[in-house]
């Protein structure tokens, strides 16, 4: 033992350098490079206002992507998040429009609770279809994606669903536009959600189970872990994160339509993958995910501020980013 210990101490400097996980660092390096690039293209870019603006706008995708980190870490995939957001937001607005509770504060509080439960229920449905129904998560959530989207279209009758009570609107608006200790509330939200998520993933029994289930379901099963329950809870966490995104989304415009949240599942998955989480499960990186969401929003912002590339190509660029991220991730894996 003692001999081993000494050998370890002597070799520490070399092994420490060698053991820095390139995959964990890569997204932050990419973020730094983007910031430099942005500063070079437009001097306004690096200003606090612009960056705060970018971060605020990334809030929806970032928070959804935190949930996606759990689902993907446990070896599953959820394609329904964009539709789920539209559906839950529509339900929430319709609930507030119903006028069931007269007092606007109470009404809003009830609507918040309602949205959280609706999101959790949507996540539970995804989880049950995948685990109890034994359907590939790709197919299961492709199905629920259609279901949630279709229900939204039906609820809005093809048009828009708008929050009617101006009273509630006035109370609710600051949740997106206001700030707390000088930080815009959406940014505070991202930080709080990510802190909680990081704690759950890295410091709790459940988080350890997620990683085990995602790395190797058989090992997890043979270790006495209830694999299906862990997977289902990950889907519920995803639903809760969508609900939190809804709570930020509704005060922003006060309305939803059939096209709300379209392709956000792509952005969320891109953020997760860019952040260094392995798509095949087993390695979740919550802070990397947030970094990935910022990168996506920054790229769009740089394109807007610069004049080399048309902003209509944003989708193309984001699509390319996910492919490049996968290639980088794989080449880093091979090296280590």
């Amino acid at each position: 033992m003692s001999v081993d210990g000494e050998g370890q101490a002597a070799e520490k400097p070399r092994s420490l350098l060698k053991e820095i996980d390139l995959r964990a660092v890569a997204p932050f390096v990419a973020l730094a490079l983007l910031l430099v690039l942005g500063a070079l293209t437009n001097p306004n870019f690096i200003g606090i206002d612009n960056l705060a603006n970018v971060a605020t706008r990334s809030a929806f995708v970032a928070i959804i992507a935190v949930g996606a980190t759990f689902v993907i870490s446990s070896g599953d995939l959820d394609l329904s998040v964009g539709s789920m957001l539209a559906f839950v937001a529509s339900l929430m607005i319709l609930f507030m429009n119903s006028g069931a509770i007269a007092d606007p504060h109470l009404m809003l509080a009830a609507a918040v609770v309602f949205a959280v439960f609706a999101g959790a229920a949507c996540g539970l449905l995804n989880g049950l279809v995948t685990t109890v129904g034994r359907i590939e998560p790709f197919i299961a959530t492709l199905g629920t994606m259609g279901i949630y989207r279709g229900l939204t279209t039906w609820l809005s009758q093809g048009g828009a669903i708008t929050l009617r009570s101006s009273e509630i609107q006035n109370i609710y608006r600051p949740v997106y536009f206001g700030s707390f200790l000088g930080l815009p509330i959406p940014i505070v939200c991202i930080l709080v959600v990510t802190l909680i998520a990081a704690f759950v993933l890295y410091r709790t029994r459940y988080g350890r189970h997620v990683v085990a289930v995602g790395s190797n379901r058989d090992v997890a099963r043979y270790s006495g872990i209830a694999v299906d329950r862990v997977r289902t809870i990950a889907f519920i966490i995803q639903g809760l994160c969508v609900a939190i995104a809804v709570l930020l989304y509704v005060p922003r415009l006060g309305s939803t339509s059939a096209t709300t949240g379209i392709l956000w599942e792509l952005q969320a998955i891109t953020a997760v993958v860019v952040g260094g989480t392995a798509l095949k499960g087993g390695a979740g990186r919550v802070w990397g995910t947030i970094c990935g969401a910022f990168i996506l929003e920054l790229v769009g912002n740089i394109m807007l501020l610069s004049n080399f590339i048309s902003e209509y190509l944003i989708g193309t660029i984001q699509g390319s980013i996910i492919i490049i991220a996968m290639l980088v991730q794989r080449s880093l894996t091979r090296k280590s």
Partner: protein, 507 residues
Amino acid sequence: METSAEVKRTPVLAARRISKSFNGVQVLFSVNFDLLPGEIHALVGENGAGKSTFVKIMSGFEQPSSGEILLDGKPVRLPANGQAEHLGIVIIHQEFNLAEHLTVTESLFLGREITRFGVLDRKRMRAETRRALDLLGSRIDENAMISSLPVADRQMVEIAKAISKDARVIFMDEPTAVLSKEESGVLFEQVRKLRDQGTSFVFVSHKLDEVLELTDRVTVLRDGQWVKTAPTSMLDGESIAQLMVGRELSSLYPAKREPDVDEEIVLSARGITTGFVRDASFDVRKGEVIGFSGLIGSGRTELMEAVAGLRPRHSGEVTIKGINMSSGDAHAANRAGLAYMTKDRKSKGLLLGSRMAVNLTLQSLDQHGKFGYLSPKSEANALARAMRRFDIRVRDGRVVAGRMSGGNQQKLMLAKVMETEPEIIIIDEPTRGIDVGTKQQIYHFISALARAGKSIVVVSSELQEVIGLCTRVVVMREGRIVGWLEGDEINEQEIMRYSAGLKKVAG
């Protein structure tokens, strides 16, 4: 010694001083082998004697570390990945290589379809398939879907496939493992027919009765060494079994200690039946080391997984320390004090991409914090304790499990299971693929646990291990418990007789 008549014929395939090492572990030691034209040659040996490796080398799937292979008396280097089929050397694998949704004809010509002007020539392929099946005297419809065929017919299709490739040498690895007695009989008849037409067979089997019935000569391997080649007519089941095992017991094992007859029964399994296991019953006493022996595929792992709740059982009862366990509830069995340690450490035992601490505590996270919170300090303490207790030697505690040696992985897995503080530990293949020094350590851990009052079930395909460790040995064969051995009865010949089906307890 070979007779003079045999020496005159040139072997179609021969091995000269073939050796093979994997990662510095030598598994074959200078093996010689001759396969004559038109003979059925049995290759027998214990599990781990090197049969599979030898077959892989002789069919080109592995290259020998040294030695040479002769084809028709001329040295060759067999091409890899099944390309040796072009030389007429075909291997029929234990698991079938047939795609279920193809027809018989399509599977026969998979990857070497006959075309005319770039279009599949179905007519010719069908005719050729019919010819191959007729040659075997088989009535299988060439247009039938593989999925509709019984296993015996699928085996026949594999052989027809070999024939249609003009095979001169056919390796059959446990071809009758999935066949009934009648189906085996039909297969043997066809094999003999082909032999009479000049095809040579290498027949790898554990079933000594079949070896005696079918083959012309027998080659015995033991611990990677060639032991004997002799005409089958000069041998009987007993003598083959003796050649396969005959080896001395070393001081690898700690002294055995019999539990008192009136010790309480901590684990009781009654009439366990699963998909394969039939009506298996056994009891384990406190402080006992009981062994489960048998050939690979005899149902030992399936039985143990059913007992541990990792696999549902169709019928039967499991009682742990007086508590009745419901079927398929691994968590309850674990809580009641039973732990199962898998033989498959790479795919079922350890998270290869995770560090030691994560693996160690995975099964016992409840101990490391309250309300689901995990205390890194508590986990680190557990790791330090386990590394000391099980002598896990790594340079750096942060190493991922996949980079550790097999022996250290095995110790880590044992440590992981012991973290749950079980009273009964089922250890499936305790020393698979690890070096002798670590083996000895693991044997001593097992013995020490038994002395501390734990009960241990050792499932092992290594006869020596079961003999050296256990005070009672159960032998399984084809999903059933066929033998119970105690005291002096626990020896290799006796176990081999039961597991090869030469002997069976009444009832």
